[in-house]
């Protein structure tokens, strides 16, 4: 198959998909045609180049390639659509921050840090938005759900991996020992683990407590 033909097909596939398409998916799709992944990658680069000056650009996110409105056109698209985007409450954003940086985390653990109860609506909204998901249930009385972030969260924020997120501010200068006492090392460990597992393109966070 000619490269120009492959290019057309890849364009049409990515444009008609509701979710990003990965290189692997494309390679699988073209395996019957014996098109090496190298060629596909090269063609994707060409498409990226070709669309760089148009109203939409080809972008790579955590789960693959997708077109998105180009940087300077976003404001025009926003203007064209009268409905304003949903605004999220501080409570929701704080809950999300805790889930991101302290995942895997239960609702009780979130409440412990925030000092107030977390409304079910917040959790519901985040689950519905598919920014978080239930990773499992903790093996303690009541079997509370353990939450973590999703690939969709990354995609919704133009991120490829959690490691691109701003680092938790090190507000206080603590010694390693103090950190350990305060359980702060765990936070770092968790994030590291999570980022790694994300990079490994895994599905679920592995934890002994998760069933």
């Amino acid at each position: 198959m000619e490269n120009t033909k492959i290019k057309k097909i890849i364009e049409s596939l990515i444009f008609s998909s509701t979710s990003p398409i990965s290189l692997k998916e494309l390679a699988n799709f073209f395996s019957e045609e014996n098109i090496p992944i190298k060629i596909i990658e090269q063609i994707i680069n060409e498409i990226q180049e070709k669309y760089s000056e148009t109203g939409v650009i080809l972008n790579k996110v955590s789960t693959g390639y997708r077109f998105q409105v180009s940087e300077d056109c976003n404001q025009w698209v926003s203007k064209f659509y009268p409905e304003k985007p949903q605004k999220y409450s501080r409570a929701l954003m704080e809950t999300l921050a805790l889930i991101i940086y302290k995942q895997p985390i239960t609702r009780t653990e979130i409440e412990a840090v925030r000092g107030v109860s977390v409304s079910s609506n917040i959790i519901k909204t985040l689950l519905e938005r598919e920014w978080i998901k239930i990773l499992g249930y903790k093996d303690v009385p009541g079997r509370p759900a353990i939450f973590g972030t999703t690939k969709e969260f990354l995609n919704s924020h133009n991120l490829v991996s959690l490691s691109q997120l701003p680092k938790l501010d090190d507000i206080i200068e603590l010694t390693e020992q103090e950190k350990k006492q305060l359980g702060l090392l765990d936070i770092e460990e968790n994030i590291k683990k999570n980022v790694n597992s994300d990079m490994n393109n895994d599905e679920e966070y592995n934890n002994d407590n998760i069933h």
């Binding site: 049409s12 008609s16 997708r66 985007p85 954003m93 704080e94 000092g115 107030v116 305060l182």
Partner: protein, 270 residues
């Protein structure tokens, strides 16, 4: 984007108005703690719980968290709570719990200490300070999240481009064979068609053979009876073939002809 980070800075400065009442921004909770009742609700709403309120009280007076001036903060906090109760605002239990915690810390601090180090392990403030610091970390993180580009607020995706579905060369999906047997069984039961004699060990092989024979007969007009029997199939195979032929004759699907007693038997489709 720039606007967003500006916003963030403002939030961080803490001097962001707590509320607007009749267009007037309220930057701080007034010293006498008087606020129009309507506004107080808004103010309360703007705090994400007792830790947030405490953090506000500390920051607004430029105190260091680590130096947590419990006496002052406690007084302010409790005054604040009192006012809210006076105004019969529904107060989350967590606010009351914090008031109690503060009062407890304050009373402990009033007791003479053996050593006066600021942050010893047995400093009654230590746990609260730790919680405040931890909360502050995540509060900041949440503000950082707010300025991340977000889908359908800061950037947009093209809508799914439609395509004309073209039917593929149909690849037929297989049937579930197990299910097939059960369905057959059920049918038999329903119709009371099933008698012990109907189902023999060779039931299927005879049936299958009947089909095979009919196939053969379709191709050639006359077939020698012997060619329908394959020695390779062994004794039971021969019996199956023979039964199949008999069954086909019985069903009047085939004819059987023989010129005379010793000559070959020919079979043909009826």
């Amino acid at each position: 984007m720039d606007i967003k980070s500006e916003e963030l800075k403002e939030i961080e400065k803490i001097n962001v108005p707590l509320a607007y009442v009749k267009g007037e921004p309220y930057l701080n909770i007034p010293k006498d703690l008087y606020l129009p009742p309507d506004a107080l609700e808004v103010v309360l709403d703007s705090f994400e719980g007792p830790l947030d309120l405490l953090l506000y009280l500390i920051k607004s007076q430029n105190f260091d968290i680590l130096e947590l001036p419990v006496a002052k903060i406690t007084d302010q906090y409790i005054q604040y709570i009192d006012l809210m109760q006076e105004l019969k605002l529904e107060l989350a239990a967590e606010y009351m719990l914090m008031a109690a915690t503060l009062a407890e810390i304050k009373s402990k601090l009033l007791l003479p200490l053996v050593e006066e180090d600021s942050l010893e392990e047995d400093d009654p403030r230590a746990e609260l300070i730790r919680r405040l610091q931890e909360y502050e970390r995540y509060k900041k993180a949440s503000l950082n999240l707010e300025v991340l580009p977000r889908i359908e607020r800061d950037f947009y995706l093209p809508n799914k481009v439609s395509y004309k579905a073209i039917k593929k060369d149909e690849v037929y999906q297989n049937v579930d064979l197990e299910k097939l047997v059960v369905i057959f069984h059920k049918l038999m039961e329903q119709t009371k068609f099933l008698t012990p004699h109907d189902v023999k060990k060779d039931f299927l092989s005879v049936r299958e053979k009947m089909t095979l024979i009919l196939n053969l007969l379709k191709q050639d007009k006359f077939v020698d009876f012997k060619t329908l029997l394959d020695i390779e199939e062994g004794k039971s195979g021969l019996i199956v073939s023979f039964l199949a032929i008999l069954e086909l004759i019985k069903l009047t699907l085939i004819d059987c002809a023989q010129a005379n007693q010793d000559s070959a038997i020919f079979i043909k489709l009826k």
